[in-house]
């Protein structure tokens, strides 16, 4: 019986998923317990947004999750539209779908880097980043920025799409699709990767639901649950697609779900381009003051369910307010890095060497815990 050893992993560690630390309790090689140490990225968003006008808050909110900013904007926008009690124009719905799916693609490609890096598959990281670069250039062209776009706006999208939107988009898809296919062949079917990832971090479907997993991590366990399908928000109701899901719920399944989601995203974008009405308004004019109300924006982000809960109440009873009264964001990463990691480590023999694969397969984005 060896003595338990407590060590820290991160925040400065090449295998750490961003600026977040873990406290590990080790018994020999095996990790017995794992505790999250968050707070390195805490900025107090929820308080800062209470001071700013609602349109300025849209500029704030993508900074919550830098890897997948458009879904944060989308959830905020959905909540705001419920407070204003409006429906976005038809054209904007399709543009939002395309923007959100590209954001998902970019996020999954960045995840490839986080995941393949610790296994020392430098070729995979390089291809993924090259494919992501094409998407960032496309974002730069359509929205005006590479990372933080501020494009999805309450009442539609912020400005009209450029004239050659369709050709540009198809061109980007034409570049990135072969790269993803090569990743599929070169990385996901590589025997070394399969041996490292298969059987690591098994998560049963019932546990995944109980512990609060969402997104690809839940679908990797075999649960066919996707908010795009079940809520049919924006134009997802008119688009026909399948939800990829895994079987065993191990790291390999979760990775494979993300890979298939990339194909699904490309498929959705192609379909949305076909069905999109290119004429018509793209944005409604909204009043500067907020009505009293409450909105909950739930979207399926790249990592899972992202919820923005906005409450608009007058801070003094005489005037209508320009700022929301309270905003709460619930990111998908919190259950993944706390309850699920603890559960897997307690029920399975995870060594220190497996930990980067396990954490990588959960695709965490630490800033949405800290906010």
């Amino acid at each position: 019986m060896s003595k338990a050893l407590t060590i820290f992993l991160g925040p400065q560690h090449p295998g750490a998923p961003g600026n977040v630390a873990f406290k590990l309790v080790l018994d020999g090689e095996r990790v017995v317990d794992i505790d999250l140490i968050p707070g390195f990225l805490h900025r107090g968003f929820e308080k800062m947004m209470e001071y700013r006008r609602w349109d300025m808050d849209l500029v704030m909110c993508p900074r919550i999750c830098v890897e997948d900013p458009d879904h944060v904007e989308l959830s905020y926008t959905h909540a705001m539209e419920q407070i204003f009690d409006i429906e976005p124009p038809e054209k904007a719905k399709y543009i939002r779908v395309i923007i959100a799916e590209f954001s998902r693609l970019a996020s999954h490609l960045l995840w490839m880097m986080h995941f393949a890096g610790p296994i020392a598959a430098r070729y995979a990281t390089s291809w993924a980043i090259a494919a992501r670069e094409e998407i960032l250039k496309w974002f730069d062209y359509v929205t005006g920025h590479r990372i933080y776009h501020h494009y999805i706006f309450p009442g539609g999208v912020r400005w009209n799409i450029p004239g050659d939107f369709e050709e540009k988009t198809l061109k980007v898809l034409k570049v990135i699709e072969p790269l993803i296919k090569d990743l599929d062949r070169g990385f996901f079917h590589h025997p070394i990767f399969i041996k490292r990832a298969q059987g690591v971090g098994r998560l049963k479907a019932s546990d995944a639901i109980r512990l609060g997993a969402t997104g690809p991590n839940l679908r990797g366990s075999g649960v066919q649950y996707d908010l795009r399908k079940s809520l049919r928000y924006d134009a997802y109701g008119e688009i026909d697609f399948e939800i990829p899901h895994g079987e065993y719920g191990d790291a390999y399944d979760r990775a494979l779900v993300r890979l298939r989601e990339m194909y699904t995203s490309i498929y959705i974008i192609r379909q949305a381009l076909e069905k999109m009405p290119y004429e018509g308004p793209y944005r409604w004019k909204l009043p500067p003051t907020l009505p009293i109300g409450e909105g909950i924006g739930r979207v399926e982000s790249a990592r899972g369910e992202f919820v923005a809960h906005i409450i608009s109440a007058p801070s003094n009873p005489l005037s209508r307010s320009l700022t929301p009264y309270r905003i709460k964001f619930r990111g998908p990463t919190m259950p993944h890095l706390t309850t699920i990691l603890k559960h897997i480590v307690a029920n399975e023999e995870i060594t220190v060497a497996d930990l980067p694969i396990l954490i990588g397969s959960l695709d965490p984005c630490p800033p949405d815990i800290d906010r």
Partner: protein, 185 residues
């Protein structure tokens, strides 16, 4: 969306009429107002009725009415992501409520957030501590409405002046300290 019969049958008789459907679009939800003393029994019943996916706890501070409102957001994956919001109000000067961390594992961490950002004590919770705010903030819970963090920050870092660069105590390099531009307004 319709009422879930199983849910209605599991609720205590006093709450059967209080269930309502509100919201639109992605925020369409069942809502239930409960008394804070029943939070454990209701959440247990709701868990058994299939709402076993915990989303989060939203705490709203109303200093005028002297209450904290807690909104428990739950969803049911069997019922295609149906959202259930359970709302309760507790007194602001006696912020105590029962913990539900043993029913929903994720609530453990959401309750820690409620503690550090609003100072709500969840009875029966064994790990209430500063978690995210550790080293980042000392003092009363910052998200309470009566704490004007913007004013505090302005006073300390900017000398009370908006639209100015922060007042620097020293510079180790990379800043000449010269202010450029025209005459200030």
């Amino acid at each position: 969306m319709s009422f879930n019969d199983e849910l209605v049958s599991l609720l205590p008789p006093k709450y059967k009429g209080r269930l309502s459907i509100t919201g639109s679009n992605t925020g369409k939800r069942l809502e239930l107002y409960i008394d804070p003393c029943d939070v454990r029994s209701i959440l247990k019943a709701v868990y058994d009725a299939g709402y076993n996916h915990f989303i989060g706890i939203t705490v709203v501070d109303y200093p005028m009415e002297n209450v904290f409102e807690l909104v428990y957001l739950l969803s049911s994956i069997e019922r295609n992501g149906e959202l259930l919001a359970i709302r309760t109000k507790i007194k602001r000067d006696e912020p105590f409520i029962d913990s539900v961390a043993d029913i929903y594992p994720l609530a453990y961490y959401q309750e820690i957030e409620g503690y550090e950002f609003f100072g709500i004590i969840f009875r029966g919770h064994n790990g209430l501590r500063k978690w995210i705010l550790l080293d980042n903030w000392e003092g009363p819970p910052p998200l309470r409405k009566d704490i004007d963090t913007r004013q505090i920050v302005l006073e300390i870092f900017y000398g009370g002046k908006r639209y100015e660069r922060p007042r620097q105590w020293r510079s180790l390099g990379g800043y000449s300290g010269l202010e450029r531009g025209g005459e200030n307004e």
